[in-house]
């Protein structure tokens, strides 16, 4: 392990929908709510667009955790995309577990366009959580296996 847990700065990749969470993160910005700089958000149209391969790719590129966040159930801009996403992730989580990725490294949340504060608190929280988990090093091992 390269870094000790104390100085470990995790890399967290977030896949967020354009309508709710991306806008919520924008609101955190306009409200000047501070949170750790460990997060990198990738904007997609909807959580329903997110393919499981995106997450695996993120881990492959060195992410220590991945966050998927979209609209609250019932509030999807496209009516039902987040429901499809939710169903997909329930299965995908099991798959992750099976392939040896700690499911605590894959996080899900609903953040609406009005929830700037929730976004900043979420990032605070998950950064601390992932810091505790330590760096994710097992991907290469999994790929080789």
């Amino acid at each position: 392990m390269a870094a000790t847990t104390a100085e470990f700065e995790p890399k967290i990749i977030a896949f967020v929908c354009n309508w709710c969470t991306y806008a919520g993160a924008d609101l955190a910005g306009t409200s000047r709510l501070k949170y750790p700089a460990n997060i990198r958000a990738i904007r997609l149209t909807c959580t329903g667009r997110i393919e499981p391969m995106f997450l695996l790719k993120a881990f492959q590129e060195g992410a220590d955790a991945v966050l998927v966040s979209g609209c609250h159930p019932g509030d999807c801009h496209y009516t039902s995309g987040n429901y499809h996403a939710r169903r997909r992730w329930t299965i995908f989580r099991k798959l992750l577990e099976f392939s040896g990725i700690d499911p605590r490294r894959v996080l899900f949340s609903w953040v609406s366009a009005a929830e700037g504060r929730k976004w900043s608190e979420l990032i605070d929280e998950i950064t601390a959580q992932v810091r505790e988990l330590g760096p994710f090093t097992s991907f290469e091992r999994i790929v080789k296996a």
Partner: protein, 185 residues
């Protein structure tokens, strides 16, 4: 990473109190609803909302020296009704604790502190409060010997005052609680 934002060296009094108690009086917008509902306001030197204001502007000295913090009856009416959800009554507890520690207790609070000390003294010794002993101790401390002298015999006859109290068996255990929490003497 963002350590400097969380532990900035120059915290205001309000920020300091918020960090220590979880109660953030900066939320108070001085509507006065606490003051309006407070039953003890006539006894106070500052109203509850003014105490919030003193903390907001950082006048620690005035807040800790006020009589108000001691005349708060802890009835929690203010905390229950505060539109900004400031736990005002609980905050008064925190101010009292700091007022005692900083030895800034308002002279008008002499009797109240005497009562608190007698009360806690009793628990410390016996684990339970024995009312007669507590009252006697209080009267000596407060130099308030003659109030209520007419009430005592009546209460005694009615069996409301017992000459001997029933202490806790494990008195050591209770005394230890006081030591370990560094309680008021």
């Amino acid at each position: 990473m963002s350590a400097q934002r969380k532990d900035s060296p120059e915290k205001t009094f309000a920020e300091q109190m918020a960090a220590e108690t979880g109660i953030d009086v900066r939320k108070c917008y001085q509507c006065g609803k606490c003051t309006a509902g407070c039953p003890m306001v006539p006894e106070m030197d500052y109203t509850p909302s003014q105490i919030m204001r003193l903390v907001q502007i950082g006048d620690r000295e005035a807040a800790l020296r006020s009589a108000t913090i001691w005349y708060c009856a802890s009835c929690l009416t203010c905390s229950t009704r505060c539109p900004q959800e400031v736990k005002i009554a609980e905050f008064m507890d925190a101010l009292r604790e700091r007022s005692l520690k900083a030895k800034k207790v308002n002279p008008r609070a002499r009797k109240i502190i005497a009562f608190v000390k007698s009360f806690l003294g009793g628990i410390r010794r016996a684990g339970r409060v024995h009312e007669i002993s507590m009252v006697m101790e209080y009267k000596t401390r407060a130099r308030d010997l003659f109030s209520d002298v007419l009430l005592a015999p009546v209460m005694f006859v009615k069996g409301k005052l017992k000459l001997l109290g029933k202490p806790v068996k494990d008195r050591q255990a209770v005394a230890r609680i006081f030591e370990r929490t560094a309680g008021a003497k």
